[in-house]
C-alpha cells in the first residue's frame, strides 16, 4: 500500500525578530497560505505533522498541543516532531511517512517558532540542553559549542576565518531577493570579520538571528498529487541520523551523522553521484562554517574542500552547485523549525521554476534540503525531484 509522495503547496510568513502574532497565529498564516496555494481546504487534509523546537523558547509546555489549532490539527491524526534544529526537515520526513505508508493521501506539514518570548534572549534557554551535572555548572552558552566546532574545523584543514566568512556575504545577499527575509544585507568579508566578536572564532555576522516565523507545505500521494497540481515535486529520498550526545568525544571536524543521513536519502532516491545529480541544495547554515561543514557531510564536497568551492563561486546562485539560494538561516532568518521547512520550500519553488529573482539558471530537476540540531548531532535530509 505504499505510494510516492509529492509536495503540492507551500506557505510561509515573514521571518522577524519579534512578531506581533502568537505562534499559533503564525502557524495559521503559513498553513492557510499553503492550502490556498494548491486550492485545497482543511477538509482535504487527512493528517497533520507539526514541527516546533524547544518548549523553553515559548515558556509553553506541550507546545505541540498549544499549536495544534493553528496547524489545522484538531479532529485529525496529528503528531508533533522534535529533533531540535533538525526538526524543520524531520517534520516533512514524518509527513512523508504518513503518506508513503498509504495510511493517508494528504498531510499538512507545519513548522512554527516563536523565539522572542524568551527573555532577555532565547540563548538563555539553551543552557538546559547541556548535561545538567557535568556541563551546566560551567555556565556554558550555546555559542561555545559552535565556536569549539568552528575552531576544530579550521584547525583540521588549515583554514582561516577569511576562508569561511564569505558564506555570510553570499547568503545575506541571496536573502535580498526573499520576501520573508529578516537580515538581507549587501556586505563584504571585512564587514563579517569586523563585526562584534562574540566567541572567537565566531563574530556576530557568522551567526543567524533569533526569529519568529512559520512555514507549511502540503504533501499528497501519487494520485492525489496529480489531481491537485500539474507541477508536483516528488520527495524521492529521506534520511535522518543521530550521533553520540557525548559531543566532547566526537570528531568535531566532520559531521558523520549528516553523511549517514545523506547516504540513506541518496540510496532511496537512487543517487549514485551526488555531486553530479544534486543540482541545488539548501544545507543548514545557522553559522557560516556550518554550510561548508554540511556540504562535506552531504558528500557535495571533499573533506575540507568546501571553502575552496565557495571561493571559486561554485556555490553562488549562478555557480555549478548553488548552496542556500534562498539566503538560508543567515539571511532569511532562523525560527528554528520553520527554517528547515523554509529550505524545503525553496527547493520546491526552485524545481518548479517559481523562485522569482532567486531562481537558479539551468532548470534544475533534483535538489536537497538538510537541517541539523539537537546537541549538534542530528542530521535530517530530504531529496526532491520534479
Amino acid at each position: 500500500m505504499s505510494q510516492k509522495v509529492a509536495i503540492v503547496g507551500a506557505g510561509i510568513t515573514k521571518f522577524v525578530r519579534r512578531a506581533q502574532e502568537t505562534g499559533k497565529e503564525l502557524a495559521w498564516q503559513a498553513s492557510k497560505m499553503a492550502l490556498d496555494s494548491c486550492g485545497l481546504s482543511l477538509k482535504d487534509i487527512d493528517s497533520v505533522s507539526l514541527g516546533t523546537a524547544p518548549d523553553a523558547f515559548d515558556g509553553v509546555h506541550m507546545k505541540g498541543e498549544y499549536l495544534s489549532d493553528g496547524s489545522g490539527g484538531w479532529r485529525k491524526p496529528y503528531m508533533r516532531q522534535f529533533v531540535g534544529g533538525g526538526t524543520g526537515v524531520f517534520a516533512p520526513i514524518h509527513g512523508w511517512m504518513h503518506v508513503a505508508s498509504g495510511m493517508f493521501d494528504t498531510c499538512l506539514v507545519v513548522c512554527s517558532e516563536k523565539m522572542s518570548t524568551c527573555y532577555p534572549h532565547p540563548q538563555g534557554a539553551f543552557l538546559t540542553i547541556f548535561d545538567h551535572t557535568t556541563e551546566q555548572a560551567l555556565d556554558p552558552t550555546l555559542i561555545w559549542i559552535f565556536a569549539l566546532e568552528y575552531n576544530r574545523y579550521m584547525e583540521t584543514y588549515g583554514l582561516t576565518k577569511r576562508d569561511i566568512a564569505p558564506v555570510s556575504v553570499k547568503n545575506k545577499k541571496n536573502a535580498m531577493d526573499h520576501p520573508s527575509a529578516q537580515l538581507p544585507m549587501d556586505i563584504t568579508v571585512d564587514d563579517v570579520l569586523n563585526s562584534e566578536l562574540l566567541a572567537w572564532p565566531v563574530n556576530r555576522l557568522d551567526i543567524s538571528p533569533a526569529s519568529d516565523g512559520a512555514a507549511a507545505i502540503v504533501l499528497a500521494g501519487e494520485h492525489a498529487a496529480k489531481r491537485i497540481t500539474d507541477k508536483p515535486v516528488w520527495i524521492d529520498g529521506v534520511g535522518w541520523n543521530l550521533d553520540t550526545a557525548y559531543w566532547a568525544t566526537r570528531d568535531l571536524s566532520y559531521p558523520r551523522y549528516v553523511e549517514k543521513a545523506a547516504r540513506m536519502a541518496y540510496d532511496m532516491a537512487g543517487i549514485k553521484e551526488p555531486r553530479r545529480e544534486i543540482e541545488i541544495a539548501e544545507p543548514y547554515d545557522p553559522f557560516t562554517y556550518k554550510e561548508l561543514h554540511h556540504m562535506e557531510g552531504l558528500l557535495l564536497a571533499d573533506r575540507g574542500e568546501a571553502p575552496q568551492l565557495l571561493a571559486d563561486g561554485v556555490t553562488q546562485r549562478d555557480g555549478d552547485r548553488p548552496m542556500c539560494p534562498s539566503g538560508g538561516a543567515l539571511g532569511v532568518g532562523n525560527p528554528i523549525s520553520a527554517t528547515g521547512l523554509m529550505k524545503v520550500i525553496e527547493i520546491f519553488l526552485q524545481l518548479r521554476g517559481e523562485a522569482e529573482k532567486r531562481q537558479v539558471p539551468g532548470n534544475p530537476t533534483c535538489g536537497l534540503a538538510q537541517a541539523w540540531g539537537d546537541l549538534m548531532q542530528v542530521g535530517t535530509v530530504v531529496v526532491m525531484r520534479r
Binding site: V16, F130, P140, L148, N151, T249
Partner: protein, 186 residues
C-alpha cells in the same frame, strides 16, 4: 506559485511598540527548582572529583576507557566492566575565547573572558574529552594541542562537582605573565 504574489503574514514589532503599550505583554518567571540525581556512573565521577581524581569506566569488549564514565557502553550495548583512574592532565582539542555570558549578556571590557575548551584526558581512550574552561593562561597564547593540567579547589572546598576543578592551566609556557594584561580579542 510565487512567494511574491502572496501577502505574507508575520508582523514585525519594534521595541517602541512594546514600550508605548501598543502591544500588551505579560511577563512571568517560573519558579521551578530541580534536584538531579547523579546516577551510578556520574555519582562515582563526582565523588572522585571531590577526592581530586578523574575516574573513567572501561568496556572490555571494545576496550574504550570512557569519560565521563557510563555504566553501559552505548556502542557495544552491554554493561561496562571496570573503573579506571585517569590522570588530571590532558590536551586541548579545541577552544574558544568567549565574550558572551550564558544569557547573551556581554562581558564588560577588560574583565576576563570565558575560555571554554574540549580537553582530551590522559589515560582515557584517544578522543575522549570533556568540556571545561582554561585559566592561568594568556588567551592569545592558547593553542590546539597544548598540554594542560587540572587546577583543583582545596580539599575542604570541594563539593563533588565538575567545578571542583576550577580550570585547566598550561603544563608549561603560555602561562599568563602579568595580571595586568588584558585578554582582548584577536
Amino acid at each position: 506559485m510565487e512567494l511574491g504574489k502572496f501577502k505574507l503574514g508575520g508582523t514585525q514589532l519594534k521595541q517602541s511598540d512594546i514600550d508605548r503599550g501598543k502591544v500588551l505583554t505579560l511577563a512571568q518567571t517560573p519558579d521551578l527548582e530541580y534536584a538531579w540525581d547523579d546516577g551510578v556512573a556520574i555519582g562515582r565521577y563526582l565523588e572522585e572529583l571531590k577526592n581530586g581524581k578523574i575516574i573513567a569506566r572501561k568496556c572490555n569488549k571494545c576496550g574504550r576507557i570512557m569519560i565521563p564514565p557510563r555504566m553501559f557502553c552505548e556502542l557495544c550495548w552491554r554493561a561496562t566492566d571496570e573503573w579506571v583512574y585517569c590522570k588530571d592532565t590532558g590536551t586541548v582539542n579545541t577552544y574558544s575565547l568567549c565574550h558572551v555570558n550564558w544569557d547573551a549578556s556581554r562581558i564588560p571590557e577588560g574583565e576576563p573572558l570565558h575560555l571554554p575548551a574540549l580537553i582530551h584526558i590522559d589515560g582515557a581512550s584517544p578522543g575522549m574529552g570533556i568540556l571545561h574552561v582554561l585559566g592561568e593562561v594568556d588567551p592569545d597564547r592558547i593553542k590546539i594541542g597544548m598540554k594542560v593540567k587540572a587546577v583543583w579547589k582545596k580539599p575542604g572546598e570541594r563539593e563533588g562537582s565538575i567545578t571542583d576543578i576550577m580550570h585547566f592551566k598550561p603544563l608549561r609556557a603560555a602561562r599568563k605573565k602579568s595580571k595586568k594584561k588584558k585578554s582582548g580579542g584577536r
